[in-house]
């Protein structure tokens, strides 16, 4: 048995468990102890589930043999993914006491006995870049507890960075897996849209949402993707495309890989320290054997405004279901319309209200063509830009986020400053392509993420490129605080 299970990656721990060197129960105990040690400062979880983790770990241990490699490794699950019988709040008062009747499909390959450490904190309904929009207070960045862990999957990122869980699931609608991964010094993968079922993921923006792994390294991300990917008849937007072996070509290296740096995502608005890290990694990739050039995405500057029409428009529709009738909060009133209004007023936080208003306005009579329809056409242009770039390059390289972790409170009253965090991330969501953030180095003592993007369903190549990138960047996982 190794000195400390906390020194292992999820893959290494899975191998120890498979070999019978370590039990799943021992792993769950280590995670629970670590949660006790650091959770007061980090606040990664809305609902820690230590007892459930132990019970299910024992059940997994009892299965003996007939189980997938990933099943023994405890997992943190973002609180927008439905978990049978375990409170799922989406970071919102409106779902404070909601217990789903079923597990999200993305969890099903872990079996009935998913060893869950807890439900990870996030911005309300995954809307935000800092977790400050959670009704349960912000999570804190394990590298500096006065700073945000990013968002919206900030609790998932903080849990992994702090060693409270070996890996975690997040969701990415406009960077919500990749940006917190970057800010917390871990790996975050947004798969191709439709690669992972959205059934049981409480919807934010249905044409953009995807579930993704948040892990210590790229091999862990490949293994966790293996566990969650696949077609699901319960999600009509899930892709009926065969799931390849994501670990098979992981170590194939850089030979023959063509990498395009995106100049539009390296300029204005990107902190110099972040740019230097990305440029440094690009140079290392070139000297290690990759072909590195420049890949223009001319419409990427229109990505953020298009995203901030499409996402709020879809939110205004998706959050209409929270009406105090079938589940969640109800504030009693005499008439049904007053009940809707008061329930939603008390149940939703500021950012959810802002996005509902923005989306309702953009979809309202007389504005639809100017906003939503125009944004959908911008989306087509962005897809065409990527198509051109991928004709020349295998993967594209950029920063993940324009800055390292900012201070709690710094941007909370300035929605536009907060939205600008997503500038490098949203093009991949609009195009539905896979993208991954890999730790690239430090800026001002804080981690910086490097983003790699690939064409639809090219996760095997993207993961291979990312594996090589984490090796040349030579900035391995460090558990904090």
């Amino acid at each position: 048995m190794p000195d400390s299970l906390l020194d292992l990656t999820a893959y290494e721990l899975a191998k120890e468990i498979e070999a019978g060197e370590v039990s799943a129960r021992e792993a769950a105990e280590v995670a629970n102890t670590r949660v006790d040690e650091v959770e007061d400062g980090v606040n990664a979880f809305v609902t820690p589930t230590p007892e459930l983790a132990l019970e299910r770990a024992e059940a997994v241990d009892a299965k003996d043999g007939d189980r997938a490699l990933w099943e023994g490794v405890p997992l943190a699950v973002k609180d927008v993914l439905s978990t049978r019988g375990v409170r799922t709040t989406c970071g919102s008062r409106i779902l404070e006491n909601f217990e789903p009747l079923y597990d999200a499909s993305a969890l099903l390959n872990f079996g009935e006995d998913l060893i869950m450490v807890g439900k990870a904190n996030c911005d309300e309904f995954a809307m935000g870049s800092s977790t400050e929009n959670s009704a349960w207070g912000p999570s804190r960045n394990p590298w500096d507890l006065d700073r945000v862990p990013g968002g919206s999957s900030g609790g998932s990122a903080a849990a992994v960075a702090a060693g409270e869980s070996w890996w975690a699931l997040g969701t990415d609608t406009g960077g919500s897996v990749r940006q917190p991964a970057a800010l917390c010094g871990i790996v975050g993968l947004k798969p191709t849209y439709g690669r992972v079922s959205r059934h049981g993921l409480i919807a934010f923006a249905s044409s953009l949402d995807v579930v993704g792994p948040m892990t210590r390294d790229v091999r862990d991300a490949a293994l966790l993707l293996q566990a969650i990917a696949g077609h699901d008849p319960r999600d009509s937007t899930s892709a009926n495309v065969e799931v390849p072996d994501y670990l098979a070509n992981l170590e194939d290296g850089l030979e023959g890989l063509r990498i395009g740096v995106v100049p539009e995502l390296m300029g204005e608005g990107i902190e110099p320290g972040v740019r230097e890290v990305v440029e440094g990694v690009a140079r290392e990739l070139e000297s290690a054997g990759a072909e590195v050039g420049e890949a223009s995405l001319p419409h990427s500057g229109y990505g953020l405004p298009a995203y901030y029409i499409i996402a709020p428009a879809e939110v205004s529709s998706n959050l209409a279901r929270f009406d105090g009738v079938r589940y969640g909060l109800r504030v009693p009133e005499d008439g049904v319309h007053e009940m809707y209004r008061t329930t939603r007023e008390e149940g939703f936080g500021d950012e959810a209200k802002r996005r509902i208003m923005l989306g309702t306005y953009a979809l309202s009579s007389g504005y639809y063509d100017a906003y939503y329809a125009q944004a959908q056409k911008v989306r087509t242009r962005i897809i065409q830009d990527f198509r051109t770039a991928f004709a020349r390059y295998d993967v594209l390289l950029s920063p993940t986020a324009p800055s390292a972790a900012f201070r709690i409170g710094e941007k909370v009253d300035d929605p536009l400053a907060m939205y600008a965090n997503d500038i490098c991330a949203v093009p991949a969501n609009l195009a539905g392509i896979p993208a991954i953030s890999v730790p690239g180095g430090l800026s001002g003592g804080l981690p910086v993420g490097v983003q790699l993007m690939g064409d639809h369903f090219t996760e095997p190549m993207l993961l291979r490129a990312a594996r090589a990138t984490e090796q040349v960047a030579d900035f391995p996982f460090q558990m904090k605080p």
């Binding site: 217990e99 009747l101 191709t192 849209y193 439709g194 044409s207 008849p233 937007t237 892709a239 500057g301 229109y302 405004p305 298009a306 901030y308 205004s316 209409a320 009406d323 105090g324 009738v325 079938r326 589940y327 969640g328 909060l329 109800r330 009133e333 005499d334 008439g335 049904v336 319309h337 009940m339 809707y340 209004r341 939603r344 007023e345 008390e346 209200k353 802002r354 509902i356 208003m357 309702t360 306005y361 100017a370 906003y371 329809a373 125009q374 944004a375 959908q376 056409k377 911008v378 989306r379 087509t380 242009r381 897809i383 929605p415 536009l416 939205y419 609009l430 195009a431 539905g432 639809h456």
Partner: protein
């Protein structure tokens, strides 16, 4: 500029209660956000098809066959208020 009346109208469409202070603050923030979004109007996109699904999936169908689902009791269990086997709502005005 988005007027206070427009903010109230949109809040009503969204069935969202807002205080007078929230209405005022929301108006200013929506103005700033809409200003930044206007950028997409400078593109001439006539003739460009819109993208609703990035994988170009459309009309995904399945056979319409009965299958076991949640019982009525299960489906009602998360409801904040029920009467017998029904969701209960206040007077519909």
């Amino acid at each position: 500029m988005i007027s206070e009346e427009q903010v109230r109208h949109v809040a009503n469409l969204a069935r969202l209660g807002l205080t007078d202070d929230e209405i005022e603050k929301m108006g200013g923030q929506l103005d700033a956000i809409l200003d930044s979004i206007e950028k997409i109007q400078e593109l001439d996109l006539s003739g460009v098809p819109p993208t609703a699904n990035p994988l170009d999936l459309s009309n995904v169908l399945r056979p319409d066959e009965p299958r076991p689902e949640f019982s009525q009791e299960q489906a009602l269990s998360p409801a904040p208020e029920r009467v017998d086997d029904l969701f209960a709502v206040p007077r519909i005005d």
